[in-house]
Symmetry: C2
Subunit: 423 residues, 2 copies
């Protein structure tokens, strides 16, 4: 994989130009894209032109001209944007999404759009897992996770409504960072559920992801080169733990023990019933909002929807405003309760998915280990580095307190290094 | 003005067809639009076709084919949508905004788009106040407020980030209803500030506004025909009260006393300093978010922005993430504090603006009496019915507890009737 930090440092030092970095990506794309299928559209020539013409200004900005890709639910004025849906085939938005514009401001060079499942929901797209082409890369940010995993891009952007950043990151063995709700703006991103949709990004390591988020937001999130103290880790015990595979449960245990060996304090945390209740009503909020967010598409283009999405929206019409309001109240109380639990921890560790990437492309896998944290708006990162012994990655999910993204990233960075030292 | 409820009842009873109702609007539009200038685009022929072709299905739906207008920052697939900005001249979105699609589902017949100030900010548009053409109708939902005030439409939609629903409603002497934050979805509405932007609507009376909101959301918000008990009213005393004109302060007092005469309990409520602090940081949140929400326009089309907006965005670039985060924490604490205050009241009364609509079109007036309630996400309604003695309306603002829109509407309805009985 390509380290965004290393590449940016080399450009900053003058050892590489933005065009050189782009050629590394272009080589990987030539080698892997035909098998992986991470992109919906790719314009390397345009990116080359930009890298050459704007070499000086790009090199001076925080992202140093690094090539990036955006999930195809982010509006872009210079690339078609189809939201993974036949309804929007060939659609060309008038403006860039806010995060796209912010990434350009920070010195990103956008080389293309990456594959999203239809409207970022569950209908699988054709992207394959670079670790094993017979397996799903996960979804809905399938292309962005796969592009980073295949070394085609150092940074790519995605979104999560259930588990669409953390799960594909786990399946592809890359770092996926889902910041606190609305740390990254969602303006100009196709909406599925306004209370849940959260932008995030993929990179080679926790420090690379933190670097990219810092560069784009101007926030003090960089953790590279830091030797922060050993974190207070909570080992999450929740009501669905027996739905994770034994090797996944072992992976979380391994990560916790590695961190403990390096000085971290590890405590088991049994989540209170309110959080199981919150887990349970994620779908009520998501689907009630989707029925409204996609009202135009449903009313005018129902026939062009997948069975997955069409059926979901059929059923969502029956959710009452009372059920939705109740779900929002539970969600609010759960956020407060989790905030209180987190006052004694820097980070929680939990499975990033039920197990390794499932075989086949008929499903993007199961988001059940992600949706609670999305609902709570808590920052999460997938820590890569472990595998199932058959070449497929197993992801460990780090979860932080809302608004404490930096603390969570530092702690995840600590766990990542502890894991890597114990190999 | 046209009462949405009365017209809907007549259609439901078969006494009027949707086409008949449309002709009433068309007559008023013919008579007033050339002076008022409420619309950016109007397609009466298309609306006539719809009213005739879909007469049966429209009549059967809750809004009964009522003609409506949408502020031109709501995306519409069949009308150009320019966000009040030269940058988007002739822009034709691919899809309807969620609220547009929901209004159509509920049986609305969209006749046109109404004038918005540039990006729903402060640069005045050309719309005139139907009560006195030499005065501003207020902004940014200038056209929607004016269209209802002039009897051209029974219902029109707007948005509020500072005071863009309540203020123009007050200036034009119509009911403006800004529901709780996100009760009406903002998907497909041009974003200025994602934490503040709130959709709302204009109608002839509180009961008409409640009827329309109920029809569109399917929520139990209708209050017509109800004789709810006398409300517990808080008379807001806040740090900016001496910035309201004497006649405005008298108007609020008059409304409170009229309600009291009919049995309401009226208590003065001095807002705690935390709410003055919250009032103060509204701009920090709004402008920090605008600098990101409008990043594409600023980076690519700065020259086509008004001086108002360009300067705002220039300055907004200096707001730090820390200042923004602090402002959000204040806002969160203020919401909790106001929720506790509201536990003893059904509604608060306060000025809807500093006074009557200012003379001239060089300014849309001052939102200082609205921004706190927008920040708190509290439901608000402008109660019309009083005037300054020179033919210009004075609006009284009713404010409710977040999520208690129905209680607030019932109480405002009570005040409105008490005022009307005391005339």
């Amino acid at each position: 994989m390509l380290s965004a930090l290393e590449l940016a440092r080399l450009v900053e030092a003058g050892s590489l130009t933005p065009a050189d970095v782009l050629e590394r990506c272009a080589q990987a794309i030539t080698a892997r894209e035909k098998d992986v299928g991470a992109f919906t559209v790719l314009d390397l020539d345009h990116a080359r032109e930009t890298a050459t013409r704007e070499a000086t200004t790009l090199s001076a900005r925080p992202l140093r001209g690094l090539p990036v890709g955006f999930k195809d639910i982010f509006d872009t004025a210079d690339f078609p944007t189809a939201y993974g849906s036949a309804i929007y085939a060939g659609h060309r938005p008038r403006a860039d999404a806010a995060l796209v514009a912010m990434a350009r401001r920070a010195g990103a060079n956008i080389v293309g759009k990456t594959v999203s499942t239809e409207m970022a929901f569950l209908d699988p797209a054709a992207t394959r897992n670079p670790r094993n082409l017979a397996h799903t890369p996960g979804g809905s940010s399938s292309g962005s996770a796969a592009a980073v995993a295949a070394g085609m891009l150092p940074i790519a952007f995605g979104t999560q409504t259930g588990g669409s950043v953390i799960r594909p990151a786990a399946y592809c063995g890359v770092t996926g960072f889902k910041p606190s709700y609305r740390l990254l703006p969602m303006v100009g991103v196709k909406c599925f559920s306004w209370s849940l949709d959260t932008a995030g990004l993929f990179a080679a390591s926790v420090a690379d992801a933190a670097f990219a988020a810092a560069a784009i937001t101007g926030r003090d999130l960089r953790i590279d080169g830091l030797d922060s103290g050993a974190p207070r880790i909570g080992l999450v015990r929740m009501h669905i733990d027996d739905e994770a595979s034994p090797d996944m449960l072992r992976a979380v245990e391994t990560a916790a023990r590695a961190a403990e060996k390096h000085g971290a304090r590890v405590t088991e945390v049994v989540l209170p019933p309110l959080l199981a209740q919150a887990w349970n009503i994620h779908g009520t909020i998501q689907n009630y909002e989707a029925a409204r967010a996609l009202a135009f598409e449903y009313d005018h283009h129902r026939a062009q929807m997948s069975k997955f999405l069409g059926t979901l929206l059929d059923q969502a019409a029956a959710i009452t405003a009372d059920a939705y309001d109740d779900a929002r109240r539970i969600s609010k109380r759960a956020r407060q309760a989790f905030g209180e639990i987190m006052s004694e921890f820097d980070v929680m560790l939990a499975p990033a998915a039920t197990g390794a990437a499932p075989r086949g492309l008929a499903s993007t896998g199961d988001p059940r280990f992600n949706r609670l944290w999305t609902l709570l708006g808590a920052p999460c990162v997938n820590i890569a580095g472990l595998s199932d012994g058959h070449g497929l990655p197993l992801g460990v999910q780090a979860i932080g307190r809302f608004g404490r993204d930096r603390t969570m990233l530092e702690a995840a960075h600590f766990v990542e290094r502890a894991l890597s030292a114990s190999h």
